[in-house]
Amino acid sequence: MTTVQTGIQPISTSRRVKDRIVHVLVYLAFAIAVIPLVSVLWLVIKNGMHRFDLEFLTHSMRNIGARDAGGGAYHAIIGTLEQVSLASLIAVPIGLLTAVYLVEYGSGGRLARSISFFVDVMTGVPSVVSGLFVLAFWILALGMPFSGFAGAMALSILMMPVVVRSAEEMLRLVPNDLREASYALGVPKWRTIVKVVLPTAFTGIVTGVMLAVARVAGETAPLLLTVFFTDSINNDPFNGPQMGLPLYVFDQAGRPTDTAIDRAWTGALTLILIVMLLNLVARLIAWWRSPAKRGS
């Protein structure tokens, strides 16, 4: 303490070097994280373009031999669209109503707290377990056939917590003044929710639902256990095995021939396009909703 420093002293070299090193490491981490993304997208586009043709989009795998070229994923695309739509039809009403309960009616009671807790738990349910559950319950216990609908049920279990959480968040953002203004006009609670709260939160909820749909559209494991494999077109999701696009990729990737691997890549490309499109739509809705937040 005998030396009295005066004026602005530069900081020590070791501190400066440490700061620079961390700076570089942080940038490096980001670069490392982007490498697999670029690699995956590049390979999917490059290899997927081979077979990204009309035949692929309009034909099934029926009567395509193990070594044959050609064939397509029409049956799988139809299956995925039907399964995901059905899953949304189950998950969105239940999820949305649950969110309404948690925000508008639950008010921190014991039931609300346990529902909230189990929604969190449900978020962590591995996708394969939801498939196993539908297998155990619907197919083995009730003796129902493998079907697109069974797959949709498994997917809906994965969708529900996502829908609940995003809808809950959006409903909580609706200012209380709006509710009170409506009550003050003598509008009953349920009409306030339906006519005031839900419309206010609508675009946010749609965004959340789209992201949930995008998430389950790429799920393979639950389908594997519930819709089974088929090479044929099955337009009826309630009866008999039905293909799904992720399952198609898994199936083709497991076959030893190059033509199958090509189909797997094209299937992956189609799947990514569908998922990215859903994501994009969700982001656009979110962006459109908040023009003020464009900068952020």
């Binding site: 420093q5 004026g7 602005i8 002293q9």
Partner: protein, 258 residues
């Protein structure tokens, strides 16, 4: 160790918005200089340009000169980190590090700036806490978290943290606005005793406070919404409060606006 600050033609921006314009002043060593003025007049912004904290905000920048005796704070090759180490700051709301003990809070700046032995550190922590009039209240619980103290104690802890690194200048941004009257009084007493060793600049909303603690007072004002803030006048505090040179200053001090 106290030094004089000279500011010449200083402008500060937030993005494209010019917050303050053309400020020129001299801040005397071993004295308390108070900045007063209506909300949004740029007095806090100006304070933050004095230790290069202004540029921490994304998009913010500064033009003009600030000199600490013979050194230009914004000169080429001057590291803002070393500027801030030399010019300490106390904020509007007490902000001790919540995960650190009282002792570690005071020692935080020292630990950055070099190696100290345990006994050296103990000595500086004690003298800093004494300097901040907090030692008697906390000497038995130095290892307890700083967030357990009252608001006024937390603010004095922050002052102890700031003076522990022996800065040349101490900047205070409305240090009492979040405190009750008794804590405010304690901080004001502290400021009066600290000016023996430091150059002190304090931004305040409270005109009685400016009159009580400061030697010099600078009055800032802005022409209108969206206009940059400007220095209207700066003089001995007694003069500003009894016989100001400008009409605007008198109007503000007598409570006609602001």
């Amino acid at each position: 160790m106290a030094k004089q600050i000279e500011v010449a033609g200083l402008d500060a921006y937030y993005g494209a918005h010019k917050a303050i314009e053309g400020i020129t002043m001299t801040i005397e060593p071993r004295a308390v200089t108070a900045f007063i003025g209506p909300s949004g007049c740029g007095k806090s912004t100006f304070l933050r340009t004095l230790n290069r904290m202004h540029e921490v905000i994304p998009g913010a920048r500064v033009e003009g000169k600030v000199r600490l005796e013979d050194q230009d704070l914004y000169g080429p090759g001057v590291d803002p980190v070393s500027v801030r180490r030399t010019i300490g700051m106390v904020f509007q709301r007490p902000n001790p590090f919540p995960t650190m003990s009282i002792y570690d809070n005071v020692a935080a700046g020292l630990r950055l700036n070099g190696r100290f032995s345990k006994s050296e550190l103990d000595g500086i922590v004690e003298s800093s806490l004494k300097g901040a009039n907090l030692w008697n209240e906390v000497k038995d619980r130095l290892q307890k978290p700083g967030s357990g103290l009252s608001g006024g104690q937390q603010q004095r802890l922050c002052i102890a943290r700031a003076i522990a690194v022996r800065p040349e200048v101490l900047l205070m941004d409305e240090p009492c606005s979040a405190l009750d009257p008794i804590s405010t009084l304690a901080i004001e007493d502290l400021i009066s005793s600290l000016k023996r060793d430091y150059t002190i600049v304090i931004v305040t909303h409270n005109m009685q406070q400016a009159a009580r603690v400061s030697d010099k007072t600078a009055f800032f004002n802005l022409a209108g919404q969206g206009q940059p803030g400007k220095l209207i006048e700066m003089d001995e505090t007694s003069r500003i409060f009894t016989n100001p040179g400008q009409k605007a200053t008198e109007d503000y001090i007598t409570g006609r606006f602001g």
